[in-house]
Structures are given as structure tokens and as C-alpha cells.
């Protein structure tokens, strides 16, 4: 029997009841008295001067309350480099650029008004390829970036990779290209702004970063951050897309200020596809070498990022990409250079895995190629190089718990690596390294929790750690119930209001169960200490002997001495000089901010995994069918098997979509497929015929009950594992994503065409 009442058991999500009954209130459902609807007019060109804008026709539409252009507003810019103006004035640089905005009494009126705004453009030459953008004479996007190359660059070096590669017994290299995909949250973006007393702002948002958002909204709009309150309805998916602040959110505020009425902007699905940022596309040139015994000698990567017209988190994804390259295996010599180039394309933001799926797509294919050249089994080759507990990697990551070898062995065994296979069938494996104990990308990686015990023994966990659908609030409730020895239904999690919850850096880096879980744990220990202090004299016990179970505080030495928690709470509250029991904690993990040298222990522990797939390719259609999928993860400790399975199943669907079907198709900067019919996400029938999940519990000493983060980890190895399986099936290596049917078919034709003359 498990030593735990909740940890490790299947616990339904605490928000599931509202969601299965239709009672959950999403942003789309929010209507405030007097609320107006905002719409945005976007650029008709990839690159153009705006010669003139005539907004007068828009006002002829009944119900229009405000129309704004860049002329009417004074704001700062948004974006990582603050290069993205809220409304574009003299010039547009991509089709998604915001040119004007309308507030009206209905969505239809606002849309009609937008369509009547007359904008005269003078088209400019545009550029849609980063290498063309760097060529002499290319159109310049921003004065700050000569040659369109952005000054924010990555340069990491350990040892001498060039010399090591030159003297390696075997080397492999290639240029890998990854494409545009998008998050496809089922709920499209929304923002609802309401101006209150003394110009204060109530902002309803599905953001992943409510507290950083306060800073940004303040900087951009001039409203003091102390007067900005962010509130959060139920969030219909995020996956990284809501990690930044975007112009539409500021526009909702500007329209609310202008009209004096609440304004809600809700994207259509077409806008969601065409106007939200993407996963960062990359061109990765990578080389790797090993010695005769199959020990890695060096890795070298040069990465060019198509930055698009503006800069969001995409430019920072090499940070995490490098971690997998430097630290999954023992590599003595590493060099990594990455830079971003402005183009008139879409810009990119955070997306589950944060650059790591792209890097792993390259590095894990080269692992297979090196193993083949060295004549070593691909699993054995990985095992020989796999990192182990106690290692310190070139980036100074301190590997504490690490179950990578167990993951590799289990995945290989369960997929049947090395067993005979049918024609056009193949197996592939890939490892994965990711942050698992937070990620210090800001001056604090912390999370605050207030735990309030009421007169009925109910515990309210108030925190800034938002729930975006992953089940992190259920994990927090489980940790609280377990630690307090109380029932789950006596715990509530309130994480939807910056006026209530203490600060949290944001929902990213797979950090919430780990970081917020630790904060909950510490706040509950504080509650327990307070209960012990009050209960000890009442029970005539030594406070040190008091333990918590069955919603009671009990003397471990004398079972007859016990008191129900609700009774303790009331006894402490309703007496002379009464008090209330409120626990609090702020957990900031023991990890390090990296300097320019990209060294420093960025996470307080690391997640490891191996995925293995068995695919069957139909050479006639080019379609890849995944027959079996095995995912083995070092998760530290399973907190909620239901939530964990769900995270991995979802990651498998997204990762396979990234690998074989999903793709935003652009024609000179204009999106051609802005709907679900043409953007090929996996449907229920497309999922693998069989999925096996296995967990290695390494019991991380820093994790809450030993747990590590997992939510991004489940996606990262998938494109590489599928590419390796396809290479096994067809003898064709795909270095460009996605491996969609038309590309696979074309490659099969090329292979057979090339082979035929030789056979004649």
C-alpha cells in the first residue's frame, strides 16, 4: 500500500466538474455591463509605407464608439526587444501588423467599421528568407539591426570542437530546417479591459504571466502598475503562446480608455492562425564526432533564426536549445552560435519545448548516423554517452537525479529495438534533456503562496501560479491535502487574481508543479507549525510530537490525544486575543541565472526521457503511420497519474503533428491555411495504434515529494524519434520538417529514381 493518501493516486482535476457541466467561465463568456467589442484592422501588405489613413467612413457604421490609429495614441512598444509598436504608424512590416482599431456595440459593427477604413499604402520591397535578408541591398526592417541581423546573439564554447572533430574517428553533419507551426489553443485569444476608479485598470486575460504582465502593461500604457489588476477566467489552452504581451491586449486597453466602457477583443479562428506568433523556425547546421569506442568527442552548431518582423520570445529559444545539445550526453567539446534575422514573416514566441525540439531533431539524428558509422548499436551508443547523476555539464549544470539510462533501456526494450521488421517499417529512438526544476530566466524564479485556514477547517491556497489546463492546480491541491492530512474537497486553489495571489514568475519551463508545489508545501508546513503551537497546550502534548492525519492533529505518542482541525481553527480564532491561522511561503529554487557565457545551473534539477516509435510508411502515398509509441520519462515522482498521462498524450499528439503533418503555409508572408481544415493537426484516428507510458521515479531531493517538471519534455524528442524511424524504414534521412506525405512521397521517388539507373 502506498504511504500516501493522494500523491501517486489518480485524482480527477479539481476544475473538471465545471468543465464537464458547461459551467466553466472562459474569456469568451465574459460580458461586463456596457461592454464594447474591439476589432483590429491589419496590414494589406508584407512591407509598405502607410501614406494615409481615412477613418471617417468607419464612423458611419451605427454603433461605432471609437476608431484609433497610431496618431491617436501614445504608448511604448511590446516585445522582447521592444520593437513592436502597438499600432503601426508610418510603416507596416508584415501582414499581421495592426494599423487601426475600432470599438463598437457589436462584433459585427466593429468588423464592418474596420472594413471601411481606407488605408493607402506604398508597397516596399519585402524579404521572406533570412539569408536573403542578410544579403547586400536587402530591404532593411529596423534601423537598429544593420543587415537585418539582430545584435542579441548566442555564442557558447567549451574546449576546442574544431580540433576535436578533425581528430575524431567518425563525424556526421547536416543542415536541418524546422518550420512554422502554431499553438492552436482551442479558445482563441481574448482580452477584456475595464477602466475603474482613478484610471485604474481591471484587465481580464488568459496570460501565462499575470505579474510580469502588470509591469509590461504599465510600461506601455503609463498606468501605474500598482493600479493594474489582472484577473483570469478559465483558460482554454496556452502552450507558451500567452507568455508575452501582444499589441491586441494594449489595444483593448486603449479603446477602453477612449470610450470609458469595458472593451473585449476576441480573435476569430482565422485571426488566431494568421496573427498569433508561431514556434520559432530555424536553420541548424550541426556537426558531431566520436572516437572508435563510440564516445562523443564534440558537437558544433550554428543556428540561424528567421525572426520575422518583430521580436517576441522566439529569439531566446536558443537558450534552451543549447541545453539539450550540451547536457543530455557527455560532450567534452561544444560550440554553439545562434543569431536572429529580421524578415517580413510571422514572428515567433514560446511554444512547448522552447527551441529544444528543433535542436533535438538535429542532434539525435546525428547520434544515429554516428552510431551507424561506428558500427555500434544505436541504443548502446546512446547508453555509452548518456549523462549520469553527479555529472557537471559544459554549461555548469549540476545533474543530481538522472534516470536517462533507465529510460533508454526501457524504451528500446518495449519498442522491440533490433527485432526483425516488415517492409517499410522502422523503429527510431531519441533521448531528451530539459529543465525540470524551474528555469531562472528572470531575476526571480519564485512563487508565493498564502494558505488560509478558515473556521470550518477549509484551506484556501492563494497563489499567482495560474492554471492553463495542465492540472497544476490539482497537483497543488493534492500536495496541500497530503501535507495537511486533510481531504481534497476541503482544499481550494485561488489563482486567478493578482490582487489576491502572491507573485509568481509565470507558467513556463514546466515549472509549476515543481515550483508552486514546493511553495504550497512550505506554506502548509507553516500552517502546521501554527496549529502545533496552539494545539500542544490544548492537548497537553509536546508540539514536536504532533502529526496530521484524517483532518486531525494527533499526538504520535498518545493516540487518545487528538483534535479535529476545524475545532483547532475555531478555538484559536474565537477567544480573547484570538488569531487566524494563515500560512505563507515564497519558494525560489536554488538555481542560477546564466550570464552572457551561458554557464550557470539554470534549473534546480533536470528532466530526462527517451521516446521510441515504430512507424510504417506507405511509399505510394508518403503517409507515415505510427504503429506504436513508447515514452519513458524520469519524472522524479508521479504526483497525479491522470494528469501526467494527459500531459504526455497531449504532447505526443502535438509532437507528432509537428513531425509529420502540421504546417503554416505562407506565400510571400501571407498565410494560406488559416483554418483547421488545412492546418493538419492530428485527429483521434491519427494517433498511434498503441501508446505505452513508463515512468522512472528518481525521487528528486529538491522536488515536492520528489517530483520534476514534465509538460514540455513529452514533446521534445518526437520529431527526432520519428525521423530516425523513417530513416530506418526507408533509408531516407529527413533533415527538414514536417515529414508530410508529399515530401515523403517525393523523397521515395527520388530515392528510387536514383537507384534505377544503377540497377540497369
Amino acid at each position: 500500500m502506498s504511504e500516501f493518501a493522494f500523491i501517486g493516486r489518480k485524482v480527477p482535476k479539481i476544475d473538471a466538474f465545471d468543465k464537464v457541466t458547461g459551467r466553466a467561465v472562459y474569456g469568451h463568456d465574459m460580458v461586463l455591463p456596457g461592454m464594447l467589442y474591439g476589432k483590429i484592422l491589419r496590414s494589406a501588405h508584407a512591407h509598405a509605407k502607410i501614406a494615409s489613413i481615412d477613418v471617417r467612413p468607419a464612423f458611419e457604421v451605427p454603433g461605432v464608439k471609437a476608431v484609433i490609429t497610431a496618431q491617436d495614441v501614445k504608448t511604448g512598444n511590446v516585445g522582447f526587444l521592444q520593437d513592436n509598436p502597438i499600432l503601426k504608424g508610418g510603416r507596416v512590416r508584415s501582414f499581421r501588423d495592426e494599423v487601426a482599431a475600432v470599438a463598437a456595440v457589436s462584433e459585427d459593427a466593429a468588423a464592418e467599421a474596420c472594413s471601411r477604413i481606407a488605408v493607402r499604402y506604398e508597397p516596399l520591397p519585402a524579404v521572406f528568407d533570412p539569408f536573403e535578408a542578410m544579403a547586400p541591398g536587402a530591404p532593411l526592417l529596423h534601423d537598429s539591426a544593420p543587415g537585418n541581423v539582430i545584435g542579441f546573439k548566442y555564442d557558447f564554447r567549451e574546449g576546442d570542437p574544431d580540433a576535436a572533430l578533425a581528430s575524431s574517428a567518425f563525424t556526421a553533419e547536416g543542415t536541418f530546417r524546422t518550420h512554422y507551426v502554431t499553438h492552436c489553443c482551442m479558445e482563441t485569444c481574448f482580452a477584456l479591459a475595464a477602466i475603474g476608479r482613478a484610471g485604474s485598470l481591471n484587465f481580464y486575460s488568459s496570460t501565462q504571466i499575470p505579474y510580469l504582465m502588470q509591469n509590461t502593461l504599465s510600461r506601455v500604457t503609463g498606468i501605474p502598475a500598482s493600479r493594474i489588476r489582472i484577473r483570469q477566467p478559465v483558460i482554454g489552452g496556452a502552450f507558451g503562446s500567452k507568455l508575452d504581451v501582444y499589441p491586441y491586449e494594449i489595444i483593448a486597453i486603449l479603446l477602453a480608455q477612449r470610450t470609458g466602457r469595458p472593451v473585449r477583443i476576441t480573435y476569430t479562428r482565422e485571426e488566431e492562425f494568421a496573427c498569433t506568433p508561431t514556434r520559432q523556425p530555424m536553420i541548424i547546421k550541426m556537426a558531431a564526432g566520436c572516437d572508435r569506442e563510440g564516445r562523443l568527442t564534440a558537437r558544433k552548431a550554428e543556428v540561424v533564426l528567421d525572426n520575422g518582423a518583430y521580436t517576441s520570445w522566439g529569439i531566446t529559444t536558443p537558450h534552451i536549445m543549447l541545453t539539450g545539445i550540451s547536457s543530455l550526453y557527455r560532450v567534452p567539446n561544444v560550440s554553439f552560435k545562434a543569431y536572429s534575422v529580421y524578415t517580413n514573416n510571422a514572428f515567433a514566441t514560446a511554444f512547448r519545448g522552447y527551441g529544444n525540439p528543433q535542436g533535438t531533431f538535429a542532434s539525435e539524428q546525428l547520434m544515429d548516423e554516428l552510431a551507424e558509422k561506428a558500427g555500434i548499436d544505436k541504443v548502446e551508443f546512446r547508453l555509452r554517452n548518456a549523462n549520469e547523476p553527479g555529472s557537471v555539464t559544459p554549461q555548469n549544470f549540476r545533474i543530481t537525479t538522472c534516470g536517462f539510462k533507465e529510460c533508454l533501456a526501457k524504451a528500446a526494450e518495449r519498442i522491440g529495438f533490433g527485432r526483425p521488421k516488415a517492409e517499410n517499417e522502422g523503429v527510431g529512438i531519441s533521448g531528451m534533456f530539459h529543465v525540470g526544476g524551474g528555469g531562472r530566466v528572470y531575476k526571480s524564479d519564485g512563487c508565493g503562496v498564502i494558505a488560509k485556514l478558515d473556521d470550518f477547517g477549509r484551506l484556501s491556497i492563494m497563489t499567482g501560479a495560474t492554471e492553463i489546463g495542465t492540472g497544476s492546480d490539482t497537483a497543488m491541491a493534492m500536495i496541500a491535502a497530503e501535507t495537511m492530512g486533510m481531504p481534497m474537497d476541503a482544499v481550494s486553489v485561488i489563482n486567478d487574481d493578482t490582487d489576491v495571489g502572491p507573485w509568481d514568475v509565470g507558467i513556463h519551463a514546466s515549472r509549476t508543479t515543481f515550483i508552486a508545489g514546493n511553495a504550497v508545501l512550505a506554506a502548509c508546513e507553516d500552517v502546521k507549525d501554527q496549529i502545533r503551537e496552539f494545539a500542544a497546550p490544548m492537548l497537553g502534548s509536546d508540539a514536536r510530537n504532533l502529526v496530521f492525519r484524517d483532518w486531525k492533529v494527533c499526538d504520535v505518542l498518545d493516540p487518545s490525544k487528538s483534535m479535529e482541525i476545524p475545532r483547532v481553527a475555531r478555538a484559536v480564532h474565537f477567544k480573547e486575543k484570538g488569531r487566524m491561522i494563515v500560512g505563507r511561503a515564497f519558494y525560489d529554487p536554488p538555481n542560477e541565472f546564466q550570464g552572457k557565457d551561458l554557464r550557470g545551473n539554470v534549473s534546480s534539477t533536470y528532466a530526462f526521457a527517451a521516446h521510441a516509435v515504430r512507424v510504417k510508411v506507405d511509399p505510394a502515398t508518403g503517409k507515415i503511420r505510427v504503429l506504436k509509441f513508447v515514452a519513458v520519462h524520469d519524472v522524479g515522482k508521479v504526483i497525479n497519474p491522470l494528469g501526467l498521462e494527459g500531459q504526455l498524450h497531449g504532447a505526443i499528439a502535438q509532437g507528432l503533428g509537428y513531425a509529420i503533418s502540421e504546417q503554416l503555409v505562407f506565400d510571400r508572408g501571407r498565410l494560406l491555411n488559416d483554418g483547421f481544415t488545412d492546418y493538419k493537426m492530428l485527429l483521434a484516428r491519427d494517433m498511434p495504434g498503441e501508446i505505452e507510458l513508463h515512468f522512472v521515479e528518481t525521487g528528486d531531493p529538491e522536488g515536492p515529494y520528489g517530483a520534476k517538471g514534465v509538460s514540455e519534455a513529452g514533446l521534445i524528442p518526437i520529431p527526432a524519434a520519428v525521423a530516425n524511424a523513417v530513416a530506418d524504414a526507408l533509408g531516407i534521412r529527413f533533415r527538414t520538417l514536417p515529414m508530410c506525405p508529399e515530401k515523403v512521397r517525393a523523397a521515395v521517388l527520388e530515392r528510387d529514381g536514383a537507384a534505377r539507373p544503377g540497377a540497369d
Partner: protein, 159 residues
Amino acid sequence: MIPIRIAVNGDVYEREVPPGTTLLDFLRDGLGLTGTNAGCRAGDCGACTVLLDGKSVNSCIVLACECDGSEVLTIEGLSRGGALHPLQQAFMDEGAVQCGFCTPGMIMRCAEFLARNPDPTPAEARAAIEGNICRCTGYENIVRAVIAAAGAMKGRAKA
């Protein structure tokens, strides 16, 4: 404006609607039944699925005026007498819910499916939800929930 008489979750409404109003907007804006979600407004994703005279439809591509004289069942009307529908219980118990935005439409689609096929195989359940997109769950626990709900409904029918 077109007069319609429509029964939604057992309550009869007599309203006048503009000819272009979708059933989805009628439910959400006209009746305040926001459990039915708008995912694409193009009939692609199934988030807005409701039962129209017992048949599942994407309410975003059905006009309200076409529903004159019809009975509509939405997620809000699925549980009767305070007891959850076995599908609702199974979606909770089997971890078939994450962000939850697709959940009401998914459950309504499955309710129709189980009414027609009370003893489905997992493959049949998978085929039944092909028109409903979920970005969070990878569908696995949804299929499991449908099978569990079918079992629970059979058990209940026997008892």
C-alpha cells in the same frame, strides 16, 4: 426577424431572430448558455456541438431559424435531476479534461454516439470523435472515458 419556437434543454422559447443568427449565437448570446463554446465558427472543430432533435450538429453552422419547432440539448441540459450523465462522470474520472474548451462539444457528440452504439469498441469511439478537435489530451483518455461511460450505462440499464 424570423419568429421561432424552440425547446432548449426542455424549456420552450418563443423568440424572434435575425435570419443570419447561428444556433450557437442564439444559445450563447440569446439564452446565456455559454457552456457551448465557439472554437472556429466554420464547422471544423466540433467545440460547439449540441444535439438537434437527438442528432449532433456543429451549432456554428446551423441557423437558429432552421431550428423552429426543434428540440435542442446542450451540455447544460445533459445532467438530469442533479446527477451527472455517465459521460460527464467518466470524463472527470478518466482524465479526459484538460483546458476543457472542447469538452462540452466532445461530450455531446459522444452522448449521441452512445445512444446509437451502446457497446462500442475503442476504435469505434475514436472514429466517432473525428470531427471534434482537442489540442490538450491527444484523445486517449477521451476514448477511455467513452468506453467507461458505456460500461456504466449498461450497468445502470441492467439494474
